[in-house]
Amino acid sequence: MSTSSPPHSATASTTPPPVAPPTMRRTPAPPPGRLIDAPPFPQGAAEALKNQQLRDNMRHATHTIRAKRARVTAELPNWEELRAAGEAIKNRTLENLDYYLEQLEANLIKNGAQVHWASDAQEAQRIVIDLIKAKGENMTHQPTPQEVVKVKSMVTQEIELNEALEAEGIAAWETDLAELIVQLGHDRPSNILVPAIHRNRDEVREIFLREMKLYGKPAPEDLDNDPKNLAAAARLHLREKFLRAKIALSGVNFCVAESGTLVIVESEGNGRMCLTLPETLISITGIEKLVPTAQDLEVMLQLLPRSSTGERMNPYTSMWTGVTPGDGPQEVHVVLVDNGRSRVLADPVGREALRCIRCAACMHQCPVYEKVGGHPYGSVYPGPIGSVLTPQLRGLDSAIDKSLPYASTLCGACAEVCPVKIPIPDILVHLRQRVVDEKKRGHRGLEQSLMRLGGWVMAKGSRLGLAGAAAGLARALIRKEYLRSLPGLGKRWTAARDLRMPPRRNFRHWWKHERGGQA
């Protein structure tokens, strides 16, 4: 939640770039440290819960968007059919991913696009950097400092592209309003749809007044906190960058294999600006974001806007197929990024998370996310989908990734709203199993020993009866209804709740008394 980390703070790129002096930075520095080094979820969550402002902002935002989604999905009598169709289309795609990727590649090339493949984040960064630098070398005069405009893209955050570009002296300007707020606020996104969902209008006004002048056209001095005026300030600030930019970077919402068409769904028009004005367009996408046929878009383009922003349709959707002569960028690149996806595909339970179309309905519906916001998830993808996707993409090695499958009450609200019916609670349980299996492989800790003991006790009725009698005895001695805090290992259990003492008389006791031990 830091709003003003120093501009020379450590960068978030995977290979630490040479630390540039503060004046060398071209874009606002994000908070120091890397997401994967975040503390385990409970620790981050406890920290976030102390922030009353954040909780107010999150509550307001999630409840507003929840109501909107519920209203517009109820409008369609065939909503459940659409969800089933969405699930079927994505399953079909994943089960034949190699086939559809080859088809997509062939159709992109046929239509004048250049296709690049990246196994991991570093490869993807390198491809994009080389493409941008190659454009710089083509300039006849002295090399000008390079810059690119960006459409909001989750995969570029996943591969930590902005900081990799910064390290190469390339300024990447976020153009989505919320991403702009996050970038200028030296902050991290906390939501995949509304990255600045944790900020209110007063905070946005302060950020714009303080930062815009450092990176381009200043905000009007008399700027107030009216969202309309804040949006107008962003329009002015970014217009000069749009007109100046030679290169744009974009993500992709959908790729159509049979035609080679890419689709971007947006609201503000910043996407259209980036897709239309520059000479070169580099689109970066995960390898799972495709659908087989153009006709399949009919399903996706109904599911996505209603699930995400709660609109019948988002204001702008752009579709383009390679290069259109005389219209828009005449050099078009597509970078297809794996970065762990093919590994996820190998897990028949976990792979269902690859159906995700990044609508954010699950996080807006989640009672946990509502309270703590996105940052404690230590992941580009927060909330329920992040808890199943991120540990699979990154592997279950870090403290944060081991904790994410537990960042849920398993209430199932997320799966109820998911437009492609991802069984998030099932995958969470599956990943918990994997975390425990990993643990078991190491030396047996106290937790495992206790679990073993519990298993031994419950394996035989007589042992369980003895344990029950012992609990009754403890109750008789302690004479309390509740225990407020337990010592030792039990301390963490009672940190958030009181422990009810076992009853004086348990069921076995009662049965014996009432029925005299008769069955």
Binding site: I181, N200, L230, L275, P348
Partner: protein
């Protein structure tokens, strides 16, 4: 590295899996599809993977009414016209309302539509030869035709043919006046995609417009007008 590694991994992942109960691929049967089960087959020989999902087409009068209602809900201004002389009158009136001084039109637009505006002193620039982005940024308005509309979502689709022009001309000016015929309005997304899918196959770019540009990024309160045209006027030719 790169491509080869990715394909090796995908093939390995899919070989070991249970394929979620579907039958394995059968190659070389001429169709694009390699799946054997009914669920994933192209729907009844059509080039689609699921049955058409939209509602029964509603009577066209209702379709057009719904289309207008949703556009108005998006804060667009909608007026109906019977012929090109009425279109011209409305174009001139909208340009005046938007305080436009200059206007760009695609090369294939019916000149009758902007004749009245020219008479009223508005400078009309035809995008032929193509105007620069700086010139377009200094242009107040744009007039285009449309490819089709969708009632269920209040969406206008441009396919950027001669009467709609390059994508950039309907983006930089702050006011967009769009002329659409009532027989171009489809009931919903599914019906529209039947017409649009072949255009994508031909490589035609498409822009779907549902109201003026908007954002809900600050406290999720909707603000009309960010980067795209902030004013959208629709002339419906009945």
């Amino acid at each position: 590295m790169g491509r080869e590694e990715i394909f090796t991994n995908i093939k390995a992942a899919l070989r070991t899996q249970d394929r979620m109960g579907t039958v394995l691929r059968t190659e070389g049967d001429g169709s694009k599809d390699r799946m054997g089960t009914v669920l994933f087959c192209p729907f009844q020989g059509q080039n689609r993977t699921v049955p058409i999902l939209s509602l029964e087409p509603s009577p066209s009068v209702l379709t057009v009414e719904l289309f207008i209602d949703l556009l108005v809900d998006y804060k667009a201004t909608v007026e109906c016209a019977d012929d090109s002389s009425q279109i011209a009158v409305l174009v001139a009136r909208f340009l005046k309302q938007a305080q436009a001084e200059t206007c760009v039109v695609p090369p294939g637009l019916d000149p009758a539509w902007f004749a009245a505006a020219q008479t009223a002193g508005i400078q009309v620039r035809v995008d032929n030869p193509p105007l620069s982005k700086e010139e377009l940024d200094q242009t107040s308005a744009v007039i285009t035709a449309a490819c089709l509309g969708m009632a269920e979502t209040g969406t206008i689709v441009l396919d950027h043919r001669a009467d709609q022009g390059r994508r950039i001309i309907s983006l930089l000016p702050d006011t967009h006046i769009c002329v659409i015929r009532s027989d171009q309005i489809a009931a919903g997304v599914s019906e529209a995609m039947v017409h649009l899918a072949p255009l994508l196959q031909e490589g035609q770019p498409l822009t779907w417009i549902s109201g003026p540009s908007a954002t809900s990024d600050i406290e999720l309160s909707r603000v009309e007008g960010v980067h795209g045209p902030r004013n959208l006027y629709v002339i419906l030719v009945t």
